[in-house]
């Protein structure tokens, strides 16, 4: 409670002084808001454009000057996109590969980060160094060797072929290890004294405290798996194994004119599930933070 009173005192003067903000402070504040507005525009404009374009006729999209609101709003793009490719099947494949891909990635990251943060074993530094090195390798470079491995395992055009090569990503382990390191030692020692084993400590003590980091990592993982394009394209051959991003790509014309309205409608098919996931996950991130603050 004491902290809250201090906080209030710290806040109050600002509230009282609001009408007499010194000019320099006002300037900073205006600059801050301007930066905010610019950031929102930079991020928001392409999204706005995508949404608007999906309701426009192709002719309107190509016309100059650009229109900011569809002149004749139409839903035809959505039905055209849905009919142009088996999007139902793409959704199923994307759900399967994202669910298992991200799921395995999170579990592996949890265990390996726990080991790296708390367990004592020889050459631990070397293992962590290797992990950091793996973090530096761009995934593009591993595509050809991964393809050869997957092909020799006979996994071309299978779910495991899409999922397994991307299941263990160093950044997840790295991110969670850093979060775990920040957990106070006393709590872990208390759990030890109470007779908790490693699994119990991980899932009942460490995981709840570091929930925001875990959810953030899971979210990043989900988004990257969901949007992944090049690997699923290379490792699959038939339409019934392909994922949503490839479906959206299929809507584009390789030569000549692209029917952008349909492509944008397809992009919305791709974006919306991630957006919903994000909204739910965001709550968990915020909850995690406040939960920690109040208890602390």
């Amino acid at each position: 409670m004491a902290t809250i009173n201090e906080l209030e005192q710290a806040i109050k003067p600002v509230v009282v002084r609001r009408r007499h903000i010194p000019l320099s402070l006002l300037g900073w504040r205006i600059a801050g808001y301007l930066t905010l507005i610019v950031a929102v525009l930079i991020i928001g404009l392409p999204v706005y454009w995508t949404v608007m374009a999906s309701f426009k006729e192709t002719r309107e999209i190509y016309s100059l000057p650009v229109t900011w609101w569809p002149a004749k709003p139409t839903f035809n793009n959505f039905s055209a996109a849905w009919e142009a490719a088996p999007f139902g099947r793409y959704y199923l494949n994307s759900f399967i590969t994202t669910f298992f891909g991200a799921g395995i990635e999170v579990i592996l990251a949890l265990f390996s980060a726990y080991a790296l943060a708390y367990l004592r074993f020889p050459r631990k530094d070397l293992v962590f160094l290797l992990l950091l090195a793996a973090l530096m390798v761009p995934t593009e470079i591993t595509i050809v060797p991964n393809y050869l491995t997957v092909a020799r395992l006979g996994w071309i055009n299978t779910y495991q072929g899409i999922i397994i090569p991307g299941a263990a990503i160093a950044y997840g382990t790295f991110l969670l290890r850093q979060a775990f390191m920040a957990v106070p030692h006393e709590i872990l020692e208390a759990a030890h004294v109470d007779g908790a084993g490693h699994l119990r400590i991980l899932f009942s003590v460490v995981a709840p405290i570091t929930q925001p980091a875990i959810v953030t990592m899971a979210l990043l993982s989900i988004v990257s798996k969901w949007n992944e394009f090049l690997w699923p394209l290379i490792v699959t051959n038939t339409t019934d194994m392909r994922t949503l991003p490839i479906g959206v790509f299929w809507l584009r014309n390789s030569e000549g004119l692209t029917n952008w309205g349909v492509v944008m409608a397809g992009s919305l098919f791709l974006i919306i599930p991630v957006l919903i996931t994000f909204l739910f996950a965001q709550r968990a991130i915020v909850e995690g933070m406040t939960a920690g603050a109040v208890k602390g």
Binding site: T58, R59, Y62, S63, L64, A84, T139, E140, I141, I143, V144, Y147, L148, A151, R152, G154, I156, N157, V223, S224, N227, E228, F229, L230, L233, I234, N237, T238, T239, F249, W250, L251, R252, N253, S254, E255, G256, L257, T258, N259
Partner: protein, 448 residues
């Protein structure tokens, strides 16, 4: 949003992965494990059972639907062969995947390769000679448009059959033309267009008379025609680079002047969009874009042959079909049957009408459907009429790995940065010569 590539980045990526893989393929790997696609018995000789073959293609959108329809029509037309069409991304991605598949032994049986890719796979021995197979299915090479067919011939042997082939056309906006009081036709020479151009420009900068694409959207393809028009060329057939030829430099100087000195042309990353939007009054662009532009433009679209300078010059482009040399004999024959079907006079007409690509067969032009189509689409007839006057591109762009982008970047330096053509093209000449070295070695090994 983790992995989005621009075309250029993808190309660069492929140079890294693909280059190594092609080299490895040159080393002549013998078969390892049996491939995924060919897990079906290699030889299917029992009567009544179909030979199943895999076809890798690059078309998506409307073109992809047309390609799928072609495969479906073939499968329904006979009961010996069943083709499975598998979309593999754009030309570059398809080639990259084919490179990886050669190493992993997961190759298809028939594959669509673009003008800049087939030659590398020919050198690597990845695609097979087609003459024997063609004889077995009674394919008449004499009825193919010679300029298109001969591009895929090495040492008198056919390797690459034209399928989705296009050429550049001169497009113009008829409304702006009328507004400027110009005759309703494309300019006959660049000199004539230089006189017209100032009338087409809007002084507030909102409209240019002409648009050039940038390097990433293949300016080197369109400039190929212009170089010939000025009496120059990129390279000689023996891979001697001629970028510093006085006529080649004259063409480059002309390109620079249109943008920097005369200021009636602009460099645009999205030419079609600017043309439809009215930001440019004319452009050179692929015949493949004709249908889409006509459907979306709010003004009447005019097309014509490319302008002349000292000569007429117009390159061909697009993609053709090849058969994978590793495929079992029976599948190769089945693949040839599909190629024969997809490029027969009737199919060639169907494909041309639904996509805007050139009909690859001479007799297609005389079919009643095509005559009717020409009547309704006089612009498309112009494109087809120009076809016999086109010629295959110089080795520097299509046979040298990344040659297109090397020339394209040089042109960007000339047009955007205003550097002197002679010094830029001297650099380009060196770079192309260096890039051609390994190809010349491979060529010697393959063709002697």
């Amino acid at each position: 949003m983790k992995r989005t590539f621009t075309r250029r980045e993808l190309l660069r990526l492929m140079m890294v992965g693909g280059g190594a893989a092609v080299l490895a393929a040159c080393g002549g790997q013998s078969g390892q494990s049996t491939s995924q696609q060919t897990t079906a018995p290699a030889v299917v000789s029992q009567p009544g059972s179909k030979v199943k073959i895999t076809y890798w293609g690059s078309f998506s959108g409307n073109l992809g639907e047309a390609e799928q329809a072609m495969v479906k029509a073939f499968n329904e037309s006979q009961n010996e062969v069943e083709v499975e069409y598998q979309f593999q991304g754009n030309y570059e991605e398809t080639a990259q995947k084919f490179t990886a598949a050669l190493q992993a032994n997961t190759t298809p049986d028939v594959i669509l390769l673009s003008d800049v890719w087939w030659f590398g796979f020919y050198l690597a021995g990845a695609i097979t000679a087609l003459d024997d197979l063609a004889r077995q299915v009674n394919l008449d090479f004499n009825d193919y448009e010679p300029v298109l067919l001969n591009e895929g011939v090495r040492k008198g042997v056919h390797y690459w059959i034209p399928f989705a082939r296009s050429t550049p056309l001169f497009y113009y906006n008829k409304s702006i033309w009328a507004e400027a009081g110009l005759p309703d036709r494309a300019p006959e020479t660049w000199a004539e267009f230089s006189e017209w151009a100032p009338k087409l420009v809007k002084s507030d900068g909102s409209r240019a008379a002409f648009g050039h694409p940038n390097g990433a959207s293949y300016i080197a393809w369109l400039f190929q025609g212009v170089v010939w028009q000025f009496g120059g060329q990129y390279s000689l057939p023996d891979f001697t680079m001629t970028m510093t030829d006085p006529n080649t430099l004259r063409a480059a100087q002309f390109y620079q002047d249109t943008v920097l000195k005369e200021k009636w042309a602009v460099l645009s990353p999205n030419l079609n969009q600017d043309f439809i939007g009215g930001a440019i009054a004319s452009m050179m662009a692929s015949t493949g874009a004709l249908a889409g532009i006509q459907a979306n433009a709010t003004f009447p679209v005019g097309v014509g042959f490319l302008p002349r300078e000292t000569n007429f010059g117009c390159p061909t482009g697009g993609a053709g079909l090849a058969i994978v040399s590793r495929a079992p004999a029976e599948k190769q024959l089945a693949a040839m049957k599909y190629i024969a079907f997809a490029t027969n006079p009737t199919s060639a007409g169907v494909w041309a009408r639904s996509t805007g690509y050139m009909p690859v067969r001479i007799s297609t032009k005389q079919t009643p459907e095509m005559i009717e189509f020409f009547k309704q689409n006089p612009n498309f007839k112009t494109a087809v009429d120009q076809l016999p006057k086109t010629r295959a591109q110089d080795a520097a762009r299509v046979f040298v790995r990344n040659g297109d982008q090397i020339i394209g970047k040089g042109l960007e330096r000339i047009i955007v940065n205003g550097e002197a053509p002679s010094s830029v093209f001297a650099d380009v000449n060196n770079e192309l010569t260096k890039a051609a070295q390994p190809i010349l070695q491979d060529l010697k090994a393959v063709e002697g």
